[in-house]
């Protein structure tokens, strides 16, 4: 499994919003990678920088006020940040495609589905005839499980339900056989039954077409069901990264642990939920120390002064917590274990 | 034409005409408003006559620059001793524009048409000849043709200004053939005997008339076409003149007179004054019911300064209710001098040593006799303040203004009058006699002596006696002072330098048959 090539690699990415009320480092030195054919999940609470990360990859960060201020985004070894806008256009939708959280507003309400599908194709298949384009679009709609695809081509977004629209979005993203599909909370706005349909579809497409998927979500359940590997973000930073099973079986970062415990479980009723005190800080609002320190039960003095790095605590598991800092970590890790249990 | 015409660059004919200068035979005459009708007998408004004076002719004409009676379509005329019978010898061989003959029959038909009308169709006929056929006051007994070219008009009683009336533009002779098709139809398709024929009317824009090739006066008219263009705004009209889009513009602001004089491509024309601008004092309202107060007003206002500033000196200081050019003008009347002290004294006499408050009504629209009512009002206001009278300037929209003023609602109001036929009666009686209270006598001034004098003068055929009567009346009016006569303004026109033969007429309707471009 590890043999697979890294298809997309984000290195030390920084994206900052320059607003009236100051600079917001929404993405703050973020590193991760996606392998060929892999489904990578990024989880984190609202405002932690998930969307900005994905938009940075596409270089679609609203500018002004946003700006990518540092780092590299390597796609098949080439730095996307060094490409011109024209070269980026060739990549967008062709090699790297994206779908968004809101199926209701992500389609242009004034153009037919067919029109929007065809646009996506014709931008990258310049030699195709109209007929070819139309056939391809219809075929893709069928592939994502939309019945009556011929008719849907002629319809407008508002005539479709949320689930159907999200399928159209997926079809549109996949229409040029992208190597990576970035899905930013693709099911958050949908009902559970519809979410189940969409997630199933994405899993199937991943298997069938071997498209790598970067699945962004805040729902741990979705991650558990869909992803191979998980990146956990908190306040603009990656705080933990590991294969899905590892994360759920052995969450290391206190935040990840808290997060997993605070979800009410449908299978068994707990008397009282575990809750992490306080709120998710806005990126940039904490200037010193670990960003989670204020909410962390295991925090110690160093946490409030120094900023932790991502420490590798096993071959495929990294954690941004001093508890896992090799130099001094072991003792505090033990200390921590005792306090917790 | 004047200035270099920038438009129609692609139009070769016109370019040629422009460059040749003398070959330009089209005159564009810019004016403030559009005509309401082209049938002069039906309207009272001057813009119509400006056009119709060139389409039609009257039995008698005014002098070139005055209101003396001259032959017109009638080459000779004769008055009986008792002033009741008039015999007119008509020009022969004259044809209407529609090809029908002009003759005594046609004249009779015109008079019949008017006499059978009513006050709102032929308003001037009504006011000039005392009503219509069956009315008691109707002056005209009969109009008869005597052969092809003799017309005899008999009156019921002498009317002194009768011949002058006949020279007025509204009593122009139309082709009976044409007007018999219907009054309303005729208004848009006028047919006269004049030097020009009607071509086209674009409402609120232009009226075009062209040369009448068959015109009976040899060599006239000199122009091929005249276009009357309505440009409501005075400044805009001046601009159009400056840029050469129009060749002749009336209603030039006094302030712009000098500019035209200084411009090498333009010339300034002065229209002989036949008007009066005045400040009327409503004698039924306190404190203007007191003669002293009215006189004080006369002393308080610095007419000369007003004329210098707002008429740019292009007006004559008024001391009587009519201009000096009109026969009967009393030059012996001694004008009230500008004397604030005297005014104060008079106010004191009237028991108003502390002054008083009043409304001063200012005209909202420019008129030839008063180019800028509000500004003159401001000047008057300042004069009055000097003698302790606090005047508040009030203005209404024009029709309201007239309406309210005629109801006697104003303390003091600015107004004026342009003569119709250059007769003293048309000023003094119309404006200051009790018969016209509620109509043109806005001051409600009433005086038995003047009333008697006016009525007597109306039927007095002996010119010298008439003049004497009017002179007497003016003395009384001066003493009673229902007005502060302000000015007899000289209306200005501007034209291209090349323009010759244009002689502005005091009535405001100019005959253009002698006009040409040098």
């Amino acid at each position: 499994m590890n043999e697979r090539k890294k298809l997309l690699e984000v290195k030390d990415l920084q994206t900052t919003f320059f607003t009236d009320s100051g600079e917001i480092p929404a993405v703050d030195h973020v590193d991760f990678y996606v392998r060929e054919g892999e489904v990578l999940g990024i989880v984190g609470e609202s405002g932690c920088g998930k969307s900005v990360t994905s938009l940075s990859i596409m270089q679609l960060v609203p500018s002004p006020p946003g700006k990518i201020t540092g780092g590299e985004i390597l796609f098949e070894g080439q730095d996307l940040l060094k490409k011109t806008e024209k070269e980026m256009r060739e990549i967008r939708g062709n090699d790297v495609a994206m779908i968004f959280q809101e199926p209701m507003t992500s389609l242009n309400p004034l153009f037919t589905i067919g029109n929007q599908m065809s646009e996506a194709i014709s931008l990258h298949q310049k030699k195709w005839s109209k007929k070819q384009i139309k056939e391809r679009a219809t075929e893709m709609l069928k592939l994502v499980g939309l019945p009556r695809s011929e008719e849907i081509m002629k319809e407008y977004p508002h005539q479709l339900s949320g689930g159907m629209r999200q399928r159209v979005m997926i079809a549109m993203a996949l229409v040029c056989d992208p190597k990576v599909l970035i899905a930013d909370e693709p099911t958050t706005a949908l009902d559970v039954t519809i979410q189940a349909q969409i997630l199933k579809l994405m899993r199937e497409l991943n298997e069938r077409m071997n498209t790598a998927i970067l699945l962004i979500t805040h729902d741990l359940g979705v991650v558990a069901e869909t992803c191979e590997r998980v990146v956990v973000m908190y306040s603009g930073q990656v705080i933990e990264e590991a294969p899905t099973k590892v994360i759920f079986e052995n969450p290391c970062h206190p935040y990840t642990r808290g997060l997993i415990q605070s979800v009410p479980d449908m299978r068994n009723k707990k008397d009282r939920l575990y809750s992490i005190p306080g709120n998710v800080p806005k990126p940039g609002s904490i200037e010193q120390g670990c960003r989670f320190a204020a909410r962390c039960e295991s925090a110690f003095s160093r946490c409030r002064v120094e900023t932790p790095e991502l420490y590798r605590n096993s071959e495929n598991h990294q954690t941004r917590c001093f508890l896992y800092d090799e130099q001094q970590g072991v003792t505090s890790a033990n200390e921590q274990t005792t306090t917790r249990s | 034409s004047g200035g270099d015409d920038k438009e129609g660059n692609g139009d070769k004919d016109k370019d040629a005409a422009d460059k040749g200068g003398s070959e330009n035979k089209t005159l564009v005459f810019g004016r403030g408003g559009d005509s309401t009708s082209l049938d002069p007998s039906r309207v009272t408004e001057g813009e119509t006559f400006k056009v119709t004076a060139n389409l039609f002719e009257t039995l008698l004409n005014f002098g070139e620059q005055d209101t003396t009676v001259q032959p017109g379509l009638a080459k000779e005329y004769d008055t009986s001793e008792d002033g009741l019978t008039y015999t007119f010898q008509l020009e022969e061989g004259v044809k209407f524009h529609d090809g029908t003959d002009f003759n005594a029959e046609a004249v009779v038909k015109n008079f019949e048409r008017w006499a059978n009308g009513d006050a709102d169709t032929f308003p001037y006929y009504n006011s000039m000849f005392g009503g219509f056929k069956d009315d008691e006051d109707h002056v005209i007994e009969s109009v008869k043709a005597d052969g092809e070219s003799t017309v005899i008009i008999t009156l019921k009683r002498p009317q002194a200004p009768f011949l002058k009336n006949l020279a007025m533009s509204m009593f122009a002779i139309s082709s009976p053939e044409a007007f018999e098709k219907g009054d309303d139809e005729y208004e848009r398709n006028p047919v006269g005997t004049g030097p020009f024929k009607f071509v086209e009317w674009k409402p609120n824009e232009t009226i075009t008339i062209e040369k009448n090739e068959e015109y009976w006066q040899e060599g006239l008219p000199k122009l091929d076409r005249v276009i009357f263009q309505a440009i409501p705004d005075n400044s805009a009209r001046l601009n159009a003149l400056l840029s050469g889009e129009i060749d002749l513009a009336d209603g030039i602001n006094p302030a712009d007179g000098a500019k035209i004089e200084d411009n090498d491509a333009l010339q300034l024309f002065e229209r002989p004054s036949m008007n009066v601008g005045y400040l009327g004092l409503t004698v039924t309202r306190e404190p203007f019911d007191k003669k002293e107060v009215r006189q004080a007003m006369n002393y308080a206002i610095d007419k000369q300064s007003i004329i210098d500033s707002f008429f740019e000196g292009r007006a004559e200081v008024a001391k009587n209710a009519m201009p000096s050019s009109i026969s009967g003008y009393n030059d012996e009347v001694e004008a009230y001098a500008y004397d604030p002290e005297k005014a104060k004294e008079l106010l004191k006499e009237a028991g108003l040593e502390d002054g008083f408050e009043m409304e001063l009504w200012a005209m909202p629209v420019p008129r030839p006799y008063m180019p800028d009512g509000t500004k003159v009002a401001e000047a008057i206001q300042s004069n009055l303040a000097d003698v302790g009278i606090k005047a508040k300037i009030v203005s209404y929209e024009w029709a309201t203004y007239l309406d309210k003023a005629s109801k006697g609602e104003a303390d003091a109001f600015m107004l004026g009058w342009t003569g119709d036929n250059g007769d003293a009666d048309n000023f003094l009686y119309v404006l200051l006699d009790e018969d016209n209270i509620g109509s043109n006598n806005y001051t409600y001034f009433k005086n038995d002596e003047t009333h008697k004098l006016f009525l007597e003068a109306q039927t007095e055929v002996d010119e010298d006696k008439r003049i004497e009567l009017y002179k007497q009346a003016q003395e009384i009016l001066h003493e009673e002072a229902p007005w502060v006569p302000l000015a007899h303004s000289i209306p200005l026109l501007g034209g291209a330098k090349e323009l010759t033969g244009f002689v502005p007429h005091p009535t405001g309707s100019d005959l253009l048959s002698n006009v040409e471009f040098k």
Binding site: E45, S46, S161, G162, G163, M164, D191, V192, T193, I194, Q195, A196, Q197, L199, K200, H218, D219, L220, G221, V222, V223, A224, E225, T226, T244, K245, F248, E249, G258, L259, I260, S262, V263, P264, D265, M266, R267, K269, K270, R272, L273, Y274, S275, I276, P277, N279, V280 | -
Partner: protein
Amino acid sequence: MNKPLLEVEGLKKYFPIRKGLIGKTVGHIKAIDDITFHVNEGETLGIVGESGCGKSTTGRTIMQLLEPTEGVVEFQGKDLTKLSATEIRSVRRDIQMVFQDPYASLNPRHTIGKILEEPLIVHGGGSAKDRRKKVVEFLKIVGLSEYHAKRYPHQFSGGQRQRIGIARALMTNPKLIIADEPVSALDVSIQAQVLNLMQDLQKEFHLTYIFIAHDLGVVRHISDRVAVMYLGKIVEITESEELYANPLHPYTQALLSAVPVPDPNYKKEQIIIEGDMPSPANPPSGCAFHTRCPFKMDVCTKITPVLAEEKTGHSVACHLYTVEGNDDIERKKQLEGSV
């Protein structure tokens, strides 16, 4: 438990669809269509269902914020649908609401102090000083501080705003609180805080909750009994333990299986139902769920199943459990096998 605090019977709310020149009614959106349930004193009734199934309408109709089309809402023995506007206003001191979007439900131009004081003013709660004291007291109860009273809603985080919303609902000492998706706008870590707070308050103040949500995990966690709604109707209602352990209605089953479980090792059988919920303006004939039901029978398209007690305290509206549906016994057996 004794007498129910609230009894809803045959409640309907139809929204007219107007059309044409004079706004003629050409049809109805049957937002809720003949629902019957009760809430006992001190318990929490959860209402779950997909978006648009009529959960909020139910809440609002009970509150008389919407005039019911038909039916009885009996609160403490009084039928609220028969009360005058003034009487209803005074009943509202006993029934309060907590809203889904904590930001939208707070007037952005009022301070928190004013927002919390308002219910007291409306219901004549003492002098200005007393009121202020009470405001501070309740701020502390929901975990905020006195100085927060001077602040404005936009200066708070989502979780804090929802606490303010809860505090406002508590100000008049209500008996029943209808919470319309109070945590669905919140992040998981915050959601846990608010759920805990609500549970604590319930114990402390002997509150009764109607807790509306679409997250089955949350509902399970907080409710004693759960009603599942589909297209304006209650399709199943029972104790929450029972529902999760033994769902009877195919829709409930599908719903439960669709919820992703945060455990990569947990393998469950997924019943993925196809298609979307039909429009309440034009509901399918018979059982509203038949268009998506994996166990559809002929009878389902014709006869509307009624909510009936299948086991003690477990009611379901499905032909699998009706006389009409019993004909196809084999099918039923098949079903039993699969559960």
